[in-house]
């Protein structure tokens, strides 16, 4: 293992990791917003929107991100819609992630017993108060593990940004591999970089889950 090689190229990897992380997080944030909106549209049975959202979720969940990115980056420009590489990255990730987040939020909402809603109504809360104090906190708490799992999944999916000609981690690794030829070191650093990115997220996820479990959930036993 050539440690000097590694030492020299750490900054490249940090740069790549930063690109990956930045656009990954933009994608994650937009996904969560989109996912929440979609979920609410379905939960409140908004007439036309509900169908559109349903179709969107099916399409987004059944096509690979790679194909979506090619379509966005290479296909759309031919009919006049041109996005920058960065925009494609975020749009693609949001398109995919929104569907997964919607499902996570939905499972959270459905886990809240209808009797909880009624209990809130019985003490005279308005619908908005009921959602804010009774339903949403419980829904979010149930959805948190799934939400974090999605976040980790989406950050892993960012490895496909390399087809967009962005200097993300994968492209950094590729460039170094093809130019310098120290494949083992290059791959080692790649693995390390992703670990550095994902381990903290995983830790935060575990802490969040544990803290919510401590708050207790009636008679539901933590698995």
């Amino acid at each position: 293992m050539d440690w000097s090689f590694i030492g020299v190229h750490v900054p490249d990897y940090i740069g790549g990791a930063w690109v990956t992380l930045r656009f990954g997080l933009y994608g994650v944030a937009c996904s969560m917003v989109l996912g929440l909106l979609c979920c609410l549209a379905q939960y409140f049975r908004v007439p036309v929107l509900r169908r559109i959202v349903g179709a969107y979720i099916e399409v987004a969940r059944n096509t690979p991100l790679l194909v979506q990115l090619f379509f966005l980056y290479q296909g759309l420009p031919r009919v006049g819609i041109r996005f920058s590489a960065q925009a494609c990255a975020v749009i693609g990730l949001t398109f995919l992630g929104g569907a997964y987040m919607a499902e996570a939020f939905r499972s959270g909402l459905e886990a809240v017993d209808r009797s909880q809603t009624e209990a809130g109504q019985c003490i005279g809360l308005t619908a908005a108060q009921n959602i804010r104090f009774v339903i949403l906190p419980q829904a979010l708490a149930t959805a948190v593990p799934a939400l974090f799992a999605n976040i980790i999944f989406l950050i892993k999916e960012t490895s496909m940004f390399s087809v967009l000609a962005m200097m993300d981690l994968m492209n950094v690794a590729d460039t170094l591999r093809t130019s310098g030829g120290r494949t083992i070191e290059v791959l080692f650093m790649l693995v390390a970089a992703y670990l550095v990115l994902l381990l903290p997220v995983s830790l935060i996820a575990t802490l969040a889950e544990r803290r919510l479990r401590y708050a207790g959930f009636g008679d539901r036993h933590p698995v």
Partner: protein, 260 residues
């Protein structure tokens, strides 16, 4: 004769094709405790849920202190602030501590200042024997304790009338009396209540009037002494009989009597 707090007039309710309530009427005056009994599925719970607006009625009217509350689509929460309801399944908010459960209604819905509400909540908790539990999460409580908290939560709203829907049905037997004693305490204090229950001895103790509901119709109605000891209708008699066993094993002659 003063205006009844609650007036239920000829209420009909069906779910899809199945009729559940067929013209039920009832008046409850201030300070009165009406106990509703009857076989399962006869519409007792549905009646309470209709009063509280959790179900809409198909025909008939419901009045609270003279004001019509049935058939409303807006501002139901204002009506519900005046009606307290406790369910069989307690439904405390699991993500909040006991005190927060009690304060959510008064502080958010009624806009009362928190310290004042908290003081009252602590007093009420002490009255039901749960003072030390103010700061814990509901999942650490027993069923009886949860139900007592649920009662306090409903009372914190200072309702005009309290609706209790089989609140001891899901409890272990030894916890039933701790909850029912709280209800008796409330009745002694003059709280107007409509109680659905299967606990016949409790019903006899706490009722001013008993309503016997079967298949969505009021079959018999009257003071507890009359209903429980000299019921008029045959169906009421049958119903009450179902709670006793006329058989006593120890009084039966053994088959193989060596003296035969």
């Amino acid at each position: 004769m003063s205006e009844p707090i609650l007036r239920v007039k000829d209420v009909h309710k069906s779910f899809d094709e199945t009729g559940v309530l067929h013209g039920v009427s009832l008046d409850i005056r201030e300070g009165e405790v009406v106990v509703i009994v009857g076989p399962s599925g006869c519409g007792k719970s549905t009646l309470l849920r209709c009063i509280n607006g959790l179900e809409t009625i198909d025909r008939g009217e419901i009045f609270l202190r003279g004001e019509k509350i049935s058939g409303r689509t807006k501002d139901l929460h204002l009506v519900r602030q005046k009606i307290g309801m406790v369910f069989q399944s307690y439904d405390l908010f699991p993500h909040m501590k006991v005190m927060d459960n009690l304060l959510l209604g008064p502080v958010r819905a009624l806009g009362r200042p928190r310290e004042e509400a908290e003081k009252e909540a602590m007093e009420m908790l002490a009255r039901v024997g749960l003072r030390e539990k103010a700061d814990v999460y509901p999942r650490t409580l027993s069923g009886g304790q949860k139900q007592r908290v649920a009662l306090v939560r409903a009372m914190m709203m200072h309702p005009e009338i309290l609706l209790l829907d089989e609140i001891t049905a899901a409890l272990d037997p030894e916890m039933v009396s701790e909850v029912l004693n709280v209800v008796i305490d409330l009745a002694r204090g003059g709280m107007t209540m409509a109680i659905v229950t299967h606990e016949m001895r409790f019903a006899e103790a706490v009722a001013d009037e008993v309503l016997f509901l079967e298949d969505g119709v009021v079959v018999e109605q009257g003071p507890p002494e009359k209903f429980f000891h000299a019921p008029e209708t045959e169906r009421a008699q049958q119903f009450l009989k179902s709670f006793t066993y006329s058989f006593k094993k120890s009084e039966v002659q053994p088959k193989n009597n060596p003296e035969d």
